[in-house]
């Protein structure tokens, strides 16, 4: 396909020229982007955009919901690239809260255009909820949680909690891809001349799903998924009081996000949305400090791509020390406050 793109001769036969045109027209990427209520493009979506650009074809971005127009303007001024050609805005309350029952008909309508060879989403909670439903209705098997794009039809994705990497080739006409945000840089800031158009009107889903409420954890900390530093606590912290007393100040001293293991979440030390691992968030910060974490397979799945891993644990046999760059064995109640104090002095 790519060799066709390089057809250099203007004097080529009419037939080959028209074939080239068709090929060009056929290769284009649609990327679904999420924005917050006030129209900020989410970090994970900026990663999806940069992954979409890695595919090398023209990119069309899709925003949906009441904040879509604001988000499109923000993207135009900051998230552009030469590949971003078009922004589709589906400005309707129908799409608020990103219910997949509402978004699917919209995505299907837009993807009907044979121009779209790829549909990319971040494998966020919203992306994971939407993409397979779209895939089933288009009769395509999506490629999920991709960590590396080899070429436009070959992708690498982790399986078995990240204990193996599968290279998969997708021969389907459209490639539906969800990408792991921590494996792709956020699209860099630059202005773009991409045109903004309104989404096609789509018949509203007849499914009567009611969105009732949400309960979001309010925090002034950096977003866990995109933080450059993460301090994470596990069962070794014993209780919520110790978690708050040790982990929170340490995170404050570094300006880090707070994460946790499933054991810590299950025991009520902190909110479930902070869980890192195979079934929680996957992070890859520059610095990951694991406090009182043994290092079970399921937890490692969510953090072992961190650049520098520090483990603080009283059990010198804990498996976390096998992946830690720097390990410190000893009593958390003494080590963590001392570390916090010395880091604060350093600032």
């Amino acid at each position: 396909m790519f060799s066709m793109l390089r057809v250099p001769s203007i004097s080529g036969s009419l037939k080959s020229a028209s074939r080239t045109l068709i090929t060009l027209r056929l290769a284009s990427t649609l990327v679904f982007l999420e924005s917050s209520r006030d129209g900020k493009v989410l970090q994970s979506s900026l990663s999806a955009l940069s992954a979409a650009q890695q595919l090398g074809n023209p990119v069309t971005a899709l925003f949906a919901g009441s904040s879509a127009a604001t988000a499109a303007e923000e993207l135009k001024s900051t998230g552009g690239s030469t590949l971003l050609k078009k922004i589709i805005v589906a400005d309707s309350k129908t799409y608020d809260n990103y219910l997949p029952e509402a978004l699917t008909p919209l995505a299907l309508e837009i993807l009907k255009d044979p121009e779209f060879s790829h549909f990319v989403v971040a494998s966020s909670a919203v992306g994971k909820n939407l993409l397979p439903r779209v895939g089933a209705l288009l009769d395509y098997q999506p490629i999920c949680d991709v960590t590396k794009i080899v070429d436009s039809s070959t992708f690498i994705r982790p399986i078995y909690a990240g204990n193996a990497l599968a290279t998969v080739h997708c021969g389907q006409n459209k490639k539906l891809v969800s990408i792991r945000a921590s494996s792709f840089p956020a699209a860099s800031a630059s202005a773009t001349a991409a045109s903004v158009t309104n989404a096609p009107e789509v018949q509203i889903s007849d499914l009567t799903v009611q969105w009732e409420s949400e309960n979001l954890v309010k925090s002034a900390r950096p977003d866990l998924g995109s933080a450059s530093k993460v301090v994470s606590g596990g069962r070794g912290l014993k209780n919520k009081e110790t978690f708050d007393k040790l982990v929170t100040p340490l995170a404050d001293s570094l300006g880090a996000a707070i994460g946790a293991t499933r054991a810590a979440v299950d025991s009520g030390f902190c909110d479930n949305s902070l869980q890192i691992g195979q079934t929680g968030k996957v992070v890859a910060p520059d610095l990951y400090i694991a406090v009182g974490i043994s290092g079970a397979i399921q937890h490692l799945a969510g953090m072992k791509d961190s650049k520098v891993i520090v483990a603080i644990n009283n059990d010198k046999e804990a498996p976390i020390f096998q992946v830690a760059d720097y390990g410190l064995t000893g009593d958390l109640n003494e080590i963590v406050p001392e570390l916090t104090e010395k880091l604060s002095l350093n600032k």
């Binding site: 089933a136 209705l137 098997q141 290279t167 570094l254 479930n272």
Partner: protein, 258 residues
């Protein structure tokens, strides 16, 4: 009210969660011989939730039907599901064929029709392929609503609607939908019970329908994605143990991590 809730619970047999998988010599997949298998943990939670709904809405639930598509040995996990409280089950023997979520969803759709199920509870993902697809695909194919990553499920008998609290990135959200509905389970939903020995004995008497993939010959099981290779992730270079907080800070500074 007549009994009007028919729950279907698809379960998958996977390599036990505590086992570190090894890549096979050919680099085409994970070594499966001589390895311990068990029910996918999320499916265990799905079974538990179905049984809890039956226990708290005795007059409502007609039947809990478990289904598994996999090798003949998947009947072990179906027996476990029966021992935990499922009433009936179907084993769809796929021999060694590993089906992609799309094919699984298509087969399940036919099972749903046959069982006349109106509530499907699945695990949010299987811990082997980590796809997190099947529930959403099944909901799409059936044109039913979906409530994925459920942390809490409440059935309202009067209106026959289900309210589900879902795990989302920044916290949780609550949605409600009338039946029929597809729910996928998150770890927080419940704590699965153990299958006791008397219940395991009783489970042997519960009905198990046995089908094979040829009973679903209109569903193509040809993989859409071709696995070119499976390899170990890069191993991290061995780290060092430091003796004190000061040494740790020194090392982190040298590594430009702080």
């Amino acid at each position: 009210m007549s009994k009007s809730l028919r729950i279907l619970v698809p379960v998958k047999r996977v390599i036990d969660y505590a086992i570190k998988p090894r890549i096979n010599k050919a680099g085409t997949g994970v070594e499966k011989t001589g390895v311990k298998f068990s029910m996918n943990p999320f499916d265990d939670i799905a079974v538990e939730e179905a049984v809890r709904i039956k226990e708290s809405h005795k007059k409502l639930v007609e039947n809990i039907h478990a289904v598994s598509i996999g090798p003949a040995k998947a009947q072990d996990i179906l027996r476990t599901a029966l021992a935990k409280g499922a009433d009936t089950c179907t084993l769809i023997d796929a021999k060694e064929t590993e089906l992609e979520p799309l094919a699984v969803a298509k087969i399940l759709k036919q099972v749903v029709t046959k069982q006349n199920a109106n509530l499907i509870i699945l695990g949010k993902q299987s811990i082997d392929d980590d796809c997190n697809n099947t529930g959403q695909m099944l909901a799409g194919l059936l044109n039913w609503p979906q409530a994925t990553n459920a942390a809490k499920v409440e059935v309202d008998e009067a209106s026959m609607t289900v309210r589900v609290t879902r795990e989302i990135d920044g916290g949780e959200e609550t949605i409600s939908a009338p039946l029929p509905l597809v729910i996928t389970t998150d770890l927080r939903l419940n704590q699965p019970r153990y299958a006791t020995l008397p219940n395991l004995m009783k489970a042997k008497k519960k009905p198990m329908e046995k089908l094979t993939l040829s009973d679903f010959s209109d569903v193509s099981t040809e993989p859409r994605l071709k696995v070119l290779k499976v390899e170990e992730p890069a191993t991290r270079a061995a780290g060092i143990k430091v003796a004190s907080v000061d040494e740790l800070i020194e090392k982190l500074k040298a590594a430009k991590a702080i």
